[in-house]
């Protein structure tokens, strides 16, 4: 099967500005996912640069914009894609080269919510106890792979990547708020109490639409907003 791709290309060493490059590639039956095709393309043109690692949708390396929608190349079925398949880097972040974006701002926001359980009580000798029901509160939150599909599909994040935490960071914020082992709920809410960090979310819900792990950052953001309201009244 032959497929037609148009790939965003930019190499700061040689290119003045980015351009789209056409590739026609002969695929084997065993090439099932978009990543398989990209690896085949790279064998022909070794200048093509993109990140990839686990090839099974858990490491979050190969997020990109595929026919206008963010997703992971390794779990995107080739045969479902409309041709020419247009591949661009994740929107809203600076492009370093080809499909590789600078994720500094994304991780800075993730780090800003203190993504770790804080509990200053001396730890018990054995595990801290948590009921299955309390543990279930973390489902749909802890599974995030930090691929950035959500934040880079969010117009609020495009406009204010330095001030708005973004869906991935806020999902993580709620993951720690919801953890019964964490003792800093109030401090965590304080940390988000400003016109931008949380409240720039306008429930556009692009994040939910693109999340390759089927997580729901908008719902988590709503729960944080509820807690904010509750502590005022």
């Amino acid at each position: 099967m032959k497929m037609h791709f148009q790939l965003y290309r930019f190499n700061p060493d040689v290119d003045q500005k980015p351009y789209m490059q056409d590739y026609h590639v002969e695929l084997e039956d065993s090439d099932k996912k978009l990543l398989d095709a990209l690896v085949r393309l790279k064998a022909v043109d070794d200048t093509l640069s993109f990140r990839r690692s686990c090839r099974e949708g858990v490491c979050g390396s190969d997020a990109m914009n595929i026919n206008g929608k963010n997703g992971l190349a390794c779990i995107t079925d080739l045969r479902d894609l409309k041709q020419p398949v247009k591949i661009r880097p994740l929107p809203g972040l600076p492009v370093i080269r080809d499909l590789i974006v600078d994720m500094t701002q994304f991780f800075k926001q993730y780090h800003s919510i203190k993504p770790y359980v804080i509990n200053d009580d001396p730890p018990p000798e054995r595990e801290r106890l948590q009921s299955p029901k309390d543990r279930e509160e973390l489902d749909g939150l802890y599974e995030c792979i930090l691929c950035a599909c959500c934040s880079t599909s969010c117009p609020s994040f495009w406009w204010n990547p330095d001030k708005f935490v973004g869906p991935a960071g806020l999902l993580a914020a709620y993951r720690f708020i919801a953890d019964t082992r964490d003792t800093q709920v109030n401090e965590r809410l304080d940390n988000l109490e400003d016109p931008y960090r949380l409240f720039r979310c306008h429930t556009i819900m692009n994040c939910v639409d693109v999340c390759p792990k089927h997580l729901n950052p908008t719902k988590a953001i709503g729960k944080i907003k509820d807690l904010m309201v509750k502590r005022v009244v």
């Binding site: 070794d46 359980v117 054995r126 801290r128 082992r181």
Partner: protein
Amino acid sequence: MSVPVRKFDAVIVGAGGAGLRAALQLSEAGLKTAVLSKVFPTRSHTVAAQGGISASLGNVQEDKWEWHMYDTVKGSDWLGDQDAIEFMCRQAPEVVVELEHFGMPFDRLENGKIYQRPFGGHMADFGKTPVQRACAAADRTGHAMLHTLYQRNVRANTQFFVEWMALDLIRDADGDVVGVTALEMETGETFILHAKAVLFATGGAGRIYSASTNAFINTGDGLGMTVRAGIPLEDMEFWQFHPTGVAGAGVLITEGVRGEGGILLNANGERFMERYAPNAKDLASRDVVSRAMALEILEGRGCGKEKDHVLLKLDHLGPEIINHRLPGIREIAIKFAGVDPIKDPIPVVPTTHYMMGGIPANYKGEVVAPQGDNPEVRVNGFYAAGECACASVHGANRLGTNSLLDLVVFGKSAGNSMIEYIKTERQDWKPLPANAADVSLARLARLENQTGGEEVADVRNAMQKCVQLRAGVFRNDENLAKGVAEIKAIAERAKRTQIKDKSKVWNTARTEALELDNLIEVAVATLISAEARKESRGAHAQDDYPDRHDDEWMKHTLYDGATRSLSYKPVHTQPLSVEYIAPQKRVY
């Protein structure tokens, strides 16, 4: 050419479970530590581990570390070092509880304790009955652990060098390790990282095979650097084939599926493991199950049009268990096998999964190499932990969930050893040798100037095909001898790889060529070590020598890269505090 130098107390290469656990020890001790990783830390391959991490917490049934130790020794087919195995199994409850305190989202039992599930080869009372020992976070235990360790390092202010590839180990005239060279991928600049102690936590090298559960990044970089620095590799003939890789795709399906009650069926719908392992059945050790599956397929009882796989049935568990305990597996089966396991079985084949061998180390995480008559002299300033290291706790076959345990036990242990070493023996930096970066610069210059060479992808494909064909589940003299000759020829081709991309910024053609240098070292070591071992033990199943021969072969292989020759060293039979577990016939 002058190469910029940066100084740290400690340099850690690799930010998976072992690297991050070590980094936490060092950062919290206040040492200036640099952690280098080819990928952002949470993209390390620890993230793909699924089923669990073992510890004799006894949350479900009575359990003891002595039983865990017995299972590990037996699983290793008596090639594991019993001092290291005792150390790991004794430490397990403590390090797992520590992970929980760090915030790891383990599943819970009704009483609020960590959930534990059955797993292959996990038995109570010295091998008698199955016991639930695998501590799990659904079927995403590796993801939960890796993210938790990264998060804890954020809290500890660990300094990360993300998307930096280490190139070579730097040793001085005494043979002591004084740093590494590294390439910053974003700029293409080369640096020397000068350190008092260096830890390799670079993970596995499953990409020497064409079918593997491993990530693209698992290219044995630590092993390549070690061999080039004149330090041998241990037990490289032992590669684990995981019974349940998705047929055709290679993606892992956790043994936890069988732990939860899944079973393997052949084309006749027979639960064939009952014939091979009457007691443990589908939960026998991985080498045993993989061989049974391969035999079923070889004897014509494989499933599908090509009769080339068997089926993993779990629909009888019901949607609730599958969605609650195995949600990631369901997702993988739908995406990569096109079946929903709530209704249909998953087609699976034994798939290369784990490297039991590696950089020779002891239970303190110190790298040890032969010198004169002593087979284990410490290489000063050099440490290794995790899959890249051979401690050796897994011997000839690793038990499921002992890999995540290995990462945190030996990551922590290596971190502590490094702190001790820096505080007592190397308070100041040893001077760098003149031209410390020459080896790396020569490799880079060779790539820059190569003409008339071969494509990296072509040589890599040739290597993968060779290893896949010659060093598979079943091996024999003729096949291995051919493999040795072929891989040596392919190694010559790898010296002349050529890249078209000569730019500096994020040049992945260059990193892939550099990775191939490392893969080739691992592939050659694998075939030469395998060809020489004239017995069957654990994952090394040699048809011409179907039995284990303890008198002659209960010993570790050491492969020397410069001469491509082998030597051997004794297995540590003496545990730290308990009685020696003498070799027995291994039945499940």
